[in-house]
Amino acid sequence: MTLLSLTISDVEVGQELPPLDIVLTRTLITATAIASRDYQEVHHDPSIAVERGSQDIIMNILTTNGFVGRYITDWAGPNTFIKSVKVRLGVPNYPGETMKMRGKVTAVTGNDVTVVVTGSNSMGDHVTATIEIALP
C-alpha cells in the first residue's frame, strides 16, 4: 500500500479529513489493550467490567491516542511529524459500537498544521482531539 504524503501546500484551513469508521469488535478492544501493555481487567474481562459499573469492556486511553495518530497519518502520510496529541475523553467505546472519526484543519502557520478530530459512537463523542503536526 502506498500512502500519499502531503506537503504544506496541499493543506488549507477548513479542509476535511476523509472519514474513517472503526468497527469496535471485542477482539479489537482486547488486542489493542494488550498491544499497549494495558492489562486492566475493564479492557478485556466483561464480568469484571460489569462488576465495576461498566456496561461491558471499554477501549483503553492509549488506544484512543493510537487511533487519533493513525487517523492523522492515514490522511497526511509518512512525512508527517506529529508534535502533540491532546484528547478530551467522553463516552466509552464498547464492543458492538462503531467509532466514526472525522477531522478538520483548523489552523496552518508556516509548516505547522492544527487538526481537530472527533471520534463518536451511538452515545456521543468518545474523543475530541486537537493534533499539531508539521509537514514538509
Binding site: L3, A31, Y39, N65, M123, G124
Partner: protein
C-alpha cells in the same frame, strides 16, 4: 447557623491548603521502561490499531521519509513504560497515595479520566531506552460536574532517553469526585426502575454515561422527547442523539404527598422543565427548597446516580 457555616468554611480552607501542598511533588523514583523501543512491540501495536504508515515497520520507506529511519508511532509513548500484567508496587507513603487517601477521607471516592495531552520532542527509534518521572502538576478547586462534585487532578509524566534527554511528556487529568447525591431512605428501598424498551433504553444508557440526550430527527431536524421511534413532525424513522446543554425553566410543578412509593422522599415535588433547546422533561428537584419553586424559574440540570444502576436528571432551581 452562622458559626457552623464558618466552621465548615475553615475546614474547607484547611483541606484545600492540604491538597495544594501536593502540587509539584514527584510521585516516586523514575520508572524505567522494561524493554528498549523495539520492532516486535511496534508490530503488535500497528497490527492491532490497523496503522499502515510504513515508517514504523518498512525500513526502505522509512529511509525515504523525513524520518530517515524506522521510528515508533509517537502515540506509543506511554506504552513503553507500562508496567504490564504485574501491577507496579506503589508505596503507601508516595505523595500520590497520600493525596488519594486525603481525597478518599473527604468522600471523593470515584475517579474518571477526562484529558490526556501528549507532546513529542522527538520520534523514538528502536534501541531507545526510556524512563519516566511523574509529578503532580495541578489540583483544581472543588468543581461541580454532571458526575458529582470533585477536584480535577493533573499529573505530568516526562519521558527521558538513555542520554537523559527528554523525548516527550504527557499531562493526564482525572476527576476525583463524590458520586452525586444518593440519599438513604428509611426503608432502604431503591428508586423504582424506569420502564425501558428498545426505543428508549439508549436514553437511560446516556444518563449512565453522564450525558443528557435529546432525540433529533435527521430528516426535518425537529427535536423530540420522550424518545420514540418515529418523528411526530415528519414521520421519519431516522434520528440521532444530541447532547442537551443542561439548562431550562420550570413550566409547571406539583408537590405530591400521597400515595408514597418506596425509594422516594415526600413531600415530593414533580417538575415540568422546558429545556432551553425546546423539549419538555419531567424531573424531581435537587438541592432546592420547596419554598424556592416557582413557575418560570431557571434551573440547571444535574445528572445524579440514585443507585449503582440508575442515573437520572434532576433540576437545581436557581435561588
Amino acid at each position: 447557623m452562622s458559626t457552623a457555616t464558618s466552621q465548615t468554611d475553615q475546614d474547607k480552607q484547611a483541606f484545600w491548603q492540604q491538597l495544594q501542598s501536593f502540587v509539584g511533588k514527584e510521585i516516586g523514583p523514575p520508572q524505567p521502561a522494561p524493554d528498549e523501543v523495539n520492532i516486535p512491540m511496534i508490530r503488535h501495536w500497528c497490527e492491532a490499531i490497523g496503522d499502515n504508515n510504513p515508517i514504523y515497520l518498512d525500513s526502505a520507506a522509512a529511509a525515504a521519509s523525513v524520518h530517515q529511519q524506522i521510528v515508533a508511532p509517537p502515540t506509543m509513548l506511554q506504552a513503553w513504560v507500562m508496567a504490564g500484567i504485574k501491577p507496579r508496587v506503589v508505596s503507601e507513603t508516595s505523595p500520590y497515595e497520600e493525596m488519594n487517601q486525603l481525597l478518599f477521607s473527604h468522600n471523593f471516592t470515584s475517579v474518571v479520566a477526562t484529558n490526556c495531552e501528549q507532546t513529542y520532542d522527538r520520534y523514538l527509534h528502536p534501541g531507545d531506552k526510556l524512563s519516566m518521572t511523574t509529578t503532580i502538576d495541578s489540583i483544581s478547586p472543588e468543581k461541580t460536574t454532571a458526575l458529582g462534585t470533585g477536584h480535577f487532578i493533573t499529573t505530568r509524566q516526562d519521558y527521558f532517553d538513555q542520554n537523559n534527554q527528554r523525548v516527550g511528556s504527557m499531562l493526564f487529568r482525572i476527576i476525583r469526585f463524590r458520586p452525586a447525591a444518593r440519599k438513604e431512605t428509611a426503608s432502604n428501598a431503591v428508586r423504582p426502575r424506569p420502564a425501558t424498551t428498545h426505543d428508549n433504553s439508549w436514553w437511560f444508557d446516556g444518563l449512565q454515561n453522564a450525558k443528557l440526550f435529546i432525540q433529533r430527527c435527521t430528516k426535518c431536524q425537529a427535536l423530540r422527547f420522550p424518545p420514540g421511534p418515529v418523528c411526530p413532525t415528519c414521520v421519519s424513522m431516522d434520528w440521532e442523539p444530541v447532547e442537551a446543554v443542561g439548562t431550562g425553566t420550570i413550566h409547571s410543578f406539583v408537590i405530591t404527598h400521597y400515595p408514597q412509593v418506596p425509594g422516594l422522599e415526600y413531600p415530593l415535588p414533580v417538575l415540568l422543565i422546558d429545556l432551553d433547546e425546546g423539549v419538555r422533561m419531567v424531573m424531581n428537584p435537587i438541592d432546592t427548597d420547596i419554598a424556592d419553586l416557582a413557575i418560570g424559574k431557571k434551573v440547571d440540570i444535574v445528572l445524579c446516580a440514585t443507585d449503582d444502576d440508575l442515573t437520572l436528571p434532576f433540576a437545581k432551581v436557581h435561588k
